[in-house]
């Protein structure tokens, strides 16, 4: 599988120490482990020679990286049990598609534990999982599912798009006393950007502008944020591009401010369309700023079918910078040319 083909597609041109997304993750884990002996990592194949696509290699405390059997459900319970009794586990999955196996623990245990006991327990548990599009993997190895997880009360869902955010958000997730689902897109792993060497955290629920503009607001998380940025840069689009950074909690104000200004909204979300993140953002704006929507609001997501294996279909299934640009242009020009859609 020639990952090299699509890895490192795009990097942020920034000052500072340049690190890949993968190494930013690695550094966050390493620093957290060095800082706090209670931090440990556990996961199927987390301790093998490949080290979760390199994100777990050469750590200062390899003795705190534990492998597991193919038992994602029980192991999530084990990680939760450890979290409740003084440890700070990072439970790692090579693919987000394996999380449904652990869904009893995620739905009924991890996300409910704190509230179910009156808010008393600390649940310092991070679940890392990699979104793994690619190379004809087919329906069971290409899912995103952040919309499904965001539906569950009690669980934060974090989706860093840049190396800097990967490190800062992962450190934040590890530092919190609440469960965090941390979803990394495999296609971001080789992307590079400036990453401070010291430890720092980025709060959950704070999005950021990746680009400023006036004609359209694009909200896009994870790989979709990077693809949207590429689209804007390559096609010089007048777009306010928001990377929410965390699907849940969601930076509602940031989105509403922008949409109130631009009057148009495109959500680019590499996930299924129904009851997903894209709908959530549109609903937010419908509820809070309907007047800003007259010029049009659109979702750009996967089609509502499982991912097909054949390369020609797979490439069509995922939006990409060119298709994002085309959609954005159409939205902008339609509005400009024809007035509001009233």
């Amino acid at each position: 599988m020639p990952w090299s083909r699509f890895e490192k597609q795009w990097s942020i041109q920034e000052e500072g120490r340049i690190l890949s997304y993968k190494d930013a993750l690695r550094e966050a884990i390493d620093q957290a482990m060095c800082l706090d002996p209670k931090v440990f990592a556990i996961g199927l194949d987390a301790d093998d020679c490949y080290g979760v696509y390199g994100s777990m290699l050469n750590l200062s405390h390899p003795e705190r990286v534990l492998g597991t059997p193919i038992s994602e459900n029980a192991m999530t319970g084990v990680a939760l049990g450890a979290a409740l009794t003084g440890m700070r586990p990072i439970h790692i999955h090579m693919r987000v598609d394996f999380l449904p196996v652990a869904m009893d623990q995620i739905t009924n245990y991890v996300s409910k534990w704190k509230a179910m006991f009156g808010g008393k327990p600390k649940v310092p548990l991070v679940i890392r999982a990699v979104v793994g599009r690619g190379w004809g993997c087919g329906a069971q190895h290409s899912q995103t599912l952040h919309g499904m997880f965001a539906h569950l009360p009690g669980l934060s869902v974090v989706t860093p798009a840049t190396p800097r955010d990967a490190k800062g958000l992962l450190l934040q997730a590890i530092a919190l006393d609440e469960p965090v689902l941390f979803l990394e897109h495999r296609w971001l792993y080789k992307n590079e950007g400036a990453v401070p060497e010291e430890m720092y955290t980025i709060p959950l629920g704070k999005g950021q502008y990746l680009r400023r503009g006036d004609s359209l607001t694009i909200v896009a998380p994870s790989l979709a944020a990077i693809h949207s940025l590429q689209a804007c840069e390559e096609h010089d689009l007048d777009v306010d591009l928001i990377d929410p950074r965390t699907i849940k909690p969601l930076d509602r104000e940031l989105i509403l401010d922008s949409v109130r200004r631009t009057g148009r909204l495109l959500v680019v979300d590499y996930d299924s369309p129904v009851c997903g993140f894209a709908s959530e953002v549109l609903a937010l704006v419908a509820e809070e700023a309907p007047e800003a929507l007259l010029a049009g609001a659109q979702k750009m997501t996967f089609p509502d079918v499982p991912m097909p294996a054949s390369g020609v279909l797979e490439r069509r299934y995922y939006p990409d910078p060119d298709r994002i640009a085309a959609k954005a242009k159409a939205m902008i020009s339609r509005v400009k040319g024809e007035g509001a859609l009233v």
Partner: protein, 315 residues
Amino acid sequence: MMENAQIKPAEGLDLYERMLRIRLLSEHILEVYRDDVMETPVHLTLGQEAVAVGVCAHLRDEDVLSLGHRTHAGALAKGLPLKSLLAELYGRSTGCSGSYGGSMHVYDPEHGIHGSSAIVGGNIALGVGAALSFKLQSKEGVAVSMFGDGACDAGVFWESMNYAALAGLPVLFLLEDNQLSNVMPKSKHLYPDPRAIAANFMPTYFADGTDAISVFLSAKEAISEIRRTGRPAFLHCPTKRWMKHQGVEEEDLPFIHIDREKDCPIQKLESFLLGARMATPGELKQVRAHLEEELEAAIHYARQSPYPPVQALEV
């Protein structure tokens, strides 16, 4: 019934006190439940008191007990204060889970209860996780995962034993086998003998789950083995459920014969203690009187406690 040399009078009386506390709670629930003052589904532990009590007698506060839906016996045996549990059953904010848990969700980390779960099976893994925690922190503790025969059906039972054995973790798999999953007899839901399976992963022990002394002695062996080796063990305790799976009614199932005198763990222990002259009738009465007082006070405490503020749910 084993020889009395193996258990000291104080230990015997302690077992008695803990079992009776649980029993009195059940009886109180039976008394008031139909009045709808406890808005929470109860899974009573009538007749099953000996299992949790016999095991918890060997546990320290720091040791962890991971429970499922049938919590009352385990929680009290492990040390959760009666008034906290009662307040929880009465839905008051002074309850052990702040009234957010109800009967199936008890919480008392000071006594090693880090929550309990009503989705059958998963709590087994949580106990294994607590054992991992002890190991990673080089602490001495033991974790106990307590579960029923029904939970053995679930894959998480298998996965948990496998990981505990692979990782070498100090956890006791405590099977409280009332031979029923709801109204389904064990023969209908679990094909193999769970103890024979467990023996492929760890040393196994057996006790009569209606006999506190039997449980006490087997648990002593199992838990000291765990403390010595840092590795898991399995304790199988067949017992009998006296009531419906849930609620306050009795149930006669054709395939389960219950003799509420002969099968009663409390009566069994009483006769043992008296027969072995480890306690006098007067002492036992005193224990009961003291517990009745405790219960009265706890009921009062619970009923006086406030309901939780609904504002907590406003967004």
